[in-house]
Symmetry: C2
Amino acid sequence: MSSLIQSVKGTRDFYPEELAARRWLYKAIRSVSESFGYQEYEGPYLESIELYAAKSGDELVKEQSFVFPDRGGNLIALRPELTPTLARMVAQKQRQLVYPVRWWSFGPFWRYERPQKGRAREFFQWNIDLFGIESPEADAEIVAIAAGLFKKVGLTPDQVKILVNSRRLVSAELSALGIASEKQAEISRWIDRRAKMNTYAWEAYASELGLEAKQIIQIKEFLQNYDTWKKSDDLSRFFAGIEAFGCRDYVDFDPNIVRGLDYYTGIVFEAIETDGEIRRSILGGGRYDNLLADVGGQPLPGVGFAMGDMVFSLVLEKHKLLPNFGNRPPAPILVTVFDESLLHASISLAAELRSHGFDILNYPESEKLSKQLKFADRMGIKIAIFLGPDELAKNLITIKVLSTGQQYSLTREHAAEALHKQLAGLPPS
Amino acid sequence: MSSLIQSVKGTRDFYPEELAARRWLYKAIRSVSESFGYQEYEGPYLESIELYAAKSGDELVKEQSFVFPDRGGNLIALRPELTPTLARMVAQKQRQLVYPVRWWSFGPFWRYERPQKGRAREFFQWNIDLFGIESPEADAEIVAIAAGLFKKVGLTPDQVKILVNSRRLVSAELSALGIASEKQAEISRWIDRRAKMNTYAWEAYASELGLEAKQIIQIKEFLQNYDTWKKSDDLSRFFAGIEAFGCRDYVDFDPNIVRGLDYYTGIVFEAIETDGEIRRSILGGGRYDNLLADVGGQPLPGVGFAMGDMVFSLVLEKHKLLPNFGNRPPAPILVTVFDESLLHASISLAAELRSHGFDILNYPESEKLSKQLKFADRMGIKIAIFLGPDELAKNLITIKVLSTGQQYSLTREHAAEALHKQLAGLPPS
């Protein structure tokens, strides 16, 4: 026997059980997104490398993206994120769209990173964005949607938190410390590195960037002060908005949040698991008011976030909030086969029942009844239907409820009605 | 203004209206697949090139696939089709799975072809397959599912047909004409080219392949005889099965169908639009009993088909069977904003109504009421809610039904009940 051909490292196979889990997440995301009146959209999975060149940050494009020349020699990227695509799509129809534009999406993305728990090279991401409104209430709406998903799946404010900061606030603080604005992006990246470096190395790095000892101390003070948001009108209105959306308990100010992407201009936020066991953030986003112009459109304010499926699933698993998809029957009803001579009659019966709206499995061949019932049991099927020569002669079918063993015959004309009642009375799987 | 960054040739942007159309198709596919008890699964979008090397046919892999080396130097393909992935996945869990395995999937694929009407480089495909049963009834089940989708979306047997042939029958015919089995694959490809070549070139090509004039005449006779299936026990049983599934009117024998993929071993079929205006096939499939072993598994019979979204959509459009997704409201209800001072009160009201299960749009800022109502109208919203200072003082809200102009106030406690009734009484969008 030849050896099995392997799947590509960092990709996942979605067997029915795993697909059901992904679909469950997709449905929860849809439900929350639609409850706020957002419309589903989707971009292409391939984009020209230029689209990311401007603003996605060097690390994401140059080091973490799958990039390749197509057969015509153009450099193509497997999209590593959606926001630039979204900006391109909005820019293309900028005059026709009705504002505010509120859109959401759920689809695949690719990053060439080392696969580990909670990280794959091919993963799924929820993106949700609002265009055309610059207010702190628009920011609050986007954050409230994130909180809305947490609430919907049963995650409590003790288990997850959305940490919010403002790039404008950080910039004002840095300016007040005498740091020139052209230097601030670099300093922000340094702040972003803090959790990943030891204190000594982190401070040494600051000196290399030209920060004075006093400035480092002052920045550290800023990073420890969880009340600075009260100085900011925007953040004060943002938190009042969050109160109005009814999710203040899920949201905190955190001056340490800066986010890696270069296009953010206002609030930035991340959701984390509070006890810190799962160290990667659950979702991240912010306001980006210049991106439309960067991809060639007219200026238009935007705010949104992205949430990957993998870290979120780890958090759900940890808190036992993922339903068990292991034994969901593919259909509730199995039509069995009495013998070879009645195979086509069984197929006809199943077709007839399908036309009444039932999902029906045909046992596909003549086989011992015990084997057919064992199959039904392993698939979690609720009802088996028998059609033997006696039944056929008398225009009857026999229904067996597998959980109870209850069994009865009835005329074929009454089958649909009986099955509807029978299924309605059984516990859901 | 800088110029807009362009999307990649042969990809599509799915704005909400187009996404809604794709989702409508996905739902119809889900409904039909589930009615036969098939389970949804999905493979990775990236696969190693080896997976296709054996059996997908040279043209598909070498000429039409996006293939690139990853950062580690391995050759990766953007999947051009799903069957090899499916075979790999089944082979990996061959001992644990319960047979028959009945699975379906709907996802993206890529082929580097010249984009044209009904063809893109990035497209979606429905795949549905049955493993573990070798009978003509299993073949019939798969074909019946294809007919089931046609019926569900309203395509009649006059408009579309599923044309079926058998590779075994073709092989027997060719053998009877003295053509050696090692030559038959080549001859099949020649038969497959017939519709794409003029008669002279096609017959000249046959001579090049070494066919004698008499053999060419005999093959042409075979290709014109629509009754040959009656000589085949398999096809006779297949068509009896199709009768039992209740879809005989959608299915015909056609000796000209051979299909391009090398892995087919038994029946092969294609669905076409009957009047021939849309020349590409709607779907295609067949039986492939050796593929599992080819990817490293144990031998296991399989049968299935794939249907792309693009040709099918052309057919639906032509017959005016696609619903209009242009003016679907993102939510049925808009909460308006009286003025800046009541913005947060309006947000709170919307949050309260969402907690009762409603999908609600917040108008996101203070603005003239006429502008807010114009927005509601453009979005197709059914109900506007007003919350002014009077209403707030008396714990009331005002509901306006936009289609009729009907307007009334009621206490906030009764809002949810009234809205449920109001929405239930309005025509669906």
